[in-house]
């Protein structure tokens, strides 16, 4: 058998383990194994790959004899071809260039297979197996980072599983928000007790009225009773108003606190969260779900407490008055309780669906309305309206189902409790008629009043489930954000004052999902002060490179170092404060121009902001607008042209005084005159700073002293402009095309051709 401590994703099946051990030569060491879940025909089956220092041994029923062995020295190339829902490990043979798929698997082990491909390819090129094994080991370690309880991927091995650690009763978690309001709630509770007690007085007064006052025609007692009741009602409603006010305030404060927490938490969630979760869904949670919870909390805190005390008080009085009649009145109660549970189970998934449908409607709103220019330019108004109507109708369908259930059930409950009342009339009335010494008229009338009061709380708690399920769904959605893993600040506290600007990518691999690798084997070094142009076709991975440098995504393999320090080991805020990022589509907030520029440095004074606006060639156009720096920009910077927004974005970056600058196609969408202004601004800015410029304009690339050419996620060329032009490779072709299109563009502009 192979050594027990061999590195593997899951233990090798015994049979394969034995066969592998038998195949091993005396001078051969088994280094790691990979157990797969598909055979080469794509059917679910157990397959395995064992990597030794000399060979790959693959067990698959589709190979001749069920096994395939391949010396590393026979390998020219090895890669993992990703397909839809599965992938294959492919080998290209050195001797005849033949390609062969040797191992097939689902995405559950795709990254491990990547490591295998790299392992065998590098050893074939002469690398030391033990050195290569370290990379494989690191990949396996990362894969092992799953929670042993729920199987959820952890951000690193040994990290706490938030899913398991904090998954308690949902409302127990929300209790944190109740704590600051405890005193107010206890006072309100005391008021509730008083008002409940007062509410129990009138039915008893009815008994006195019938049995004593009216029977004895005692007018004096009548008036005393009436005035006493007046006092009771006045006090009850005064205290009730005070209680209602206090509870409302308390509910509002709790929900405001919850909203703040959700919004704050949402700021620190990683970009990968926003890649998977629509902003509409997040907005729904902050606005809609908190309102649902608020309504529920008010209902719980106001009515539920009162109803509970009322129920206890009433049943006590009823038992004291007549225990037989009380038992009769309790007959419908079990039916109501079981009905409530049955209803709850049926309505919960419906409310979940309603929430998802509503989040989809919100998504459409937040997605399409800001893009109204696109809709209008492509006469898509009707399509947009139809799309919205379709989503809205889906919501309506689900809401109707809930409407049916949430109305049928209360009606059934009401019917049952009415039957209970009738039972009391029948039995109690019979006793009054035939055994008046046992039960008086006054007592029966009083009892019926109490009984009808009693069914009120029962009904309330039966229908509370409806609100409860709705609120539960909202609470789950809210806690989804609060419990979500924020961006990991591994290097928290380890701040850096200045960065010289050396950047190194070492064996970096990255994919957003498991289907397609976005970046493969990225290696380069940029020295401080270098101006680097990054070029490539659309989708080649240029923006992903800078996103990784900005630490917007952490789940990459390999290392990214700045000034020889791994960026994951630097405090996140400190690190990002050293980088100025000018995006292709500069985002502006709905705020003044001044505050949009000062966003990067809120403590900057007026003259600093004016100075950077100057550097960015923005001050002159700002000064000429009616409200100048007080100009209020619309959502997304409406009110400025693309070039003006870009220059404000550059001013924002200048204010930060960053050590590293990143420009993501900064002059992509502007005319050449504006481009010239922006280029001038960029030139002022980049002096002495390490600059990365994703660009396709020749004019931008000419400033760069190094060019990185990216194609299909790999760096295919790296060097100066002149070196790459001599190479006559991809860069040369890109420049030729660009030169031609620029000549045409300049020609059109010269003719003022629109």
């Amino acid at each position: 058998m192979l050594p027990a401590e061999i590195l593997t994703n899951i233990p090798l099946p015994e049979e394969l383990n034995k066969k592998a051990a038998e195949l091993l030569k005396s001078d051969e060491r088994a280094m790691f194994s990979l157990v797969g879940d598909l055979n080469l025909s794509g059917r679910y089956a157990v397959s395995a790959l064992i990597a030794t220092d000399k060979r790959l041994i693959v067990f698959d029923e589709k190979h001749e004899g069920g096994v395939f062995t391949l010396p590393h020295s026979d390998v020219e190339e090895a890669d993992v071809k990703r397909m839809y829902g599965n992938a294959v490990l492919r080998i290209k043979f050195k001797d005849n260039g033949r390609r062969l798929s040797i191992f097939r698997f689902t995405y559950s082990i795709a990254e491990l297979a990547d490591a295998v491909a790299l392992f065998t390819e590098n050893i074939a090129k002469g690398a030391d197996p033990d050195e290569e094994f370290k990379t494989v080991e690191a990949t396996f370690e990362k894969k092992k980072s799953v929670c042993p309880k729920c199987g959820r991927t952890l951000i690193r091995q040994g990290a706490e599983c938030i899913n398991c650690a904090s998954k308690g009763k949902i409302f127990k978690k929300l209790a944190v928000y109740f704590k600051p309001e405890l005193k107010r709630m206890i006072f309100s509770l005391a008021l509730s007790l008083v008002t409940t007690t007062l509410a129990l007085v009138p039915p008893y007064a009815t008994k006195m009225l019938v049995d004593d006052v009216l029977k004895n025609r005692d007018a004096k007692m009548l008036f005393s009773l009436v005035f006493a009741l007046l006092g009771v009602y006045a006090l009850q409603h005064t205290l009730g108003a005070l209680r209602g006010y206090l509870l409302r305030i308390t509910g509002d404060r709790i929900v405001a606190s919850l909203r703040n927490d959700i919004y704050e938490k949402a700021q620190y969630l990683p970009l990968s969260f926003y890649d998977k979760t629509s902003t509409g869904s997040v907005i729904s949670r902050v606005s809609g779900d908190t309102s649902t919870l608020q309504a529920f909390m008010l209902r719980i805190s106001q009515e539920a407490v009162i109803q509970f005390f009322l129920m206890v008080g009433i049943i006590t009085i009823m038992f004291v008055m007549n225990w037989r009649l009380t038992l009769l009145s309790l007959i419908p109660v079990p039916l109501v309780v079981f009905g409530g549970r049955f209803f709850g189970k049926r309505i919960a998934p419906i409310y979940s669906k309603i929430w998802r449908r509503w989040a989809s409607v919100s998504s459409v709103l937040s997605d399409t309305l800001p893009s109204i220019r696109v809709i209008k330019s492509f006469t898509g108004e009707e399509r947009a309206a139809n799309k919205f109507a379709a989503f809205n109708n889906e919501w309506l369908k689900e809401d109707r189902k809930a409407a049916v259930l949430s109305n049928v059930f209360p009606s059934v409950v009401t019917f049952l409790v009415t039957c209970g009342s009738l039972l009391i009339w029948a039995v109690g009335g019979y006793w009054v008629v035939y055994t008046p010494e046992y039960i008086s008229v006054g007592l029966l009338v009083s009892f019926i009043s109490y009984a009808s009061m009693f069914y009120g709380p029962i009904n309330f708690f039966a229908t509370l489930n409806d609100t409860y399920q709705n609120a539960l769904t909202s609470a789950e959605r809210i806690l989804d954000i609060i419990d979500a893993e924020p961006e990991q600040n591994f290097g928290e506290g380890r701040t850096i004052n200045t960065i010289k600007g050396k950047i190194e990518f070492r064996n970096v691999n990255f994919s957003f999902d498991r289907i397609k690798k976005t970046l493969t084997n990225i290696n380069f070094v940029i020295e401080p002060g270098d101006i680097v142009g990054i070029v490539g076709t659309t989708g080649s991975g240029k923006s992903t490179l800078v996103n990784l440098l900005m630490r917007f995504y952490d789940s990459y393999e390999g290392d990214i170092l700045v000034d020889d320090i791994n960026i994951k080991d630097i405090d996140l805020s400190s690190y990002r404060s050293q980088i100025g990022y000018v995006q292709q589509e500069p985002m502006m907030f709905k705020d003044t121009i001044f505050r949009n520029i000062a966003y990067s440095s809120p403590e900057a004074n007026v003259e600093q902001v004016i100075h950077v606006a100057d550097v960015a060639n923005a001050h002159s156009f700002i000064a000429r607008t009616p409200d100048a720096y007080d100009t209020m920009l619309g959502e997304r910077g409406v009110g400025l042209s693309g070039g003006e927004r870009q220059r404000i974005s550059i001013a924002r970056a200048v204010l930060k005084n960053p050590s590293i600058l990143i420009f993501d196609e900064a002059t992509a969408a502007v005319d050449s005159e504006t481009e010239h202004l922006i280029q001038e601004a960029i030139e002022r800015l980049i002096r002495g700073r390490t600059t990365l410029m994703i660009a396709h304009r020749l004019s931008t690339l000419r400033k760069a002293n190094k060019i990185i050419v990216v194609d299909k996620g790999e760096i295919i060329e790296f060097g100066s402009h002149d070196e790459l032009m001599e190479l006559k490779g991809k860069y040369f072709k890109l420049i030729e095309i660009q030169s031609l299109s620029e000549k045409i563009r300049e020609g059109k502009e010269a003719e003022n051709f629109e």
Binding site: F594, I610, R624, A628, Y629
Partner: protein
Amino acid sequence: MTERTYIENDNARITRGEGILLKVEMYDGRIFEDVEARRLFPVTGVYKYITLLDSEGAEQAVIRDLRNLTPDSRAVVEEVLGEYYLVPKITQIEKIINKKVKIIFHVITDNGPREFEVKSIYSDIKTLYDGRVLIKDSNDNRYEISNLNALSRDSQRLMAPYL
């Protein structure tokens, strides 16, 4: 990029030119003729950072704080700014008629009585941190309530639902 010229205290003498144009004589010998004064912060900083633009719109100098100029220079600059920026101060609100799609204001300002329409209370009526209320009408004209509490109680009551 040349360094910005700041005018403050007595490092310049400002006199009136033709219309709303100004002549600035710096005490270092430089002269800027026919410049127009514009506020860089017309909403939040009426006295601070007044830029002086030439006929091409290029900035020649910036007045840091109007209040620190010599009295004569200050008076001249305030005069031209008063002509350029017409923002009447509302001293009394006579009535406000809410027609759902628009709100019609009848007011008395320091410029005389005025009637105007406001389209949206959300974007056209703003209360600033210093207590001023800025109103923009449907023709983009601006009005200001310098101090809401200084208005009569009736005026305050009429204005309250729109703040």
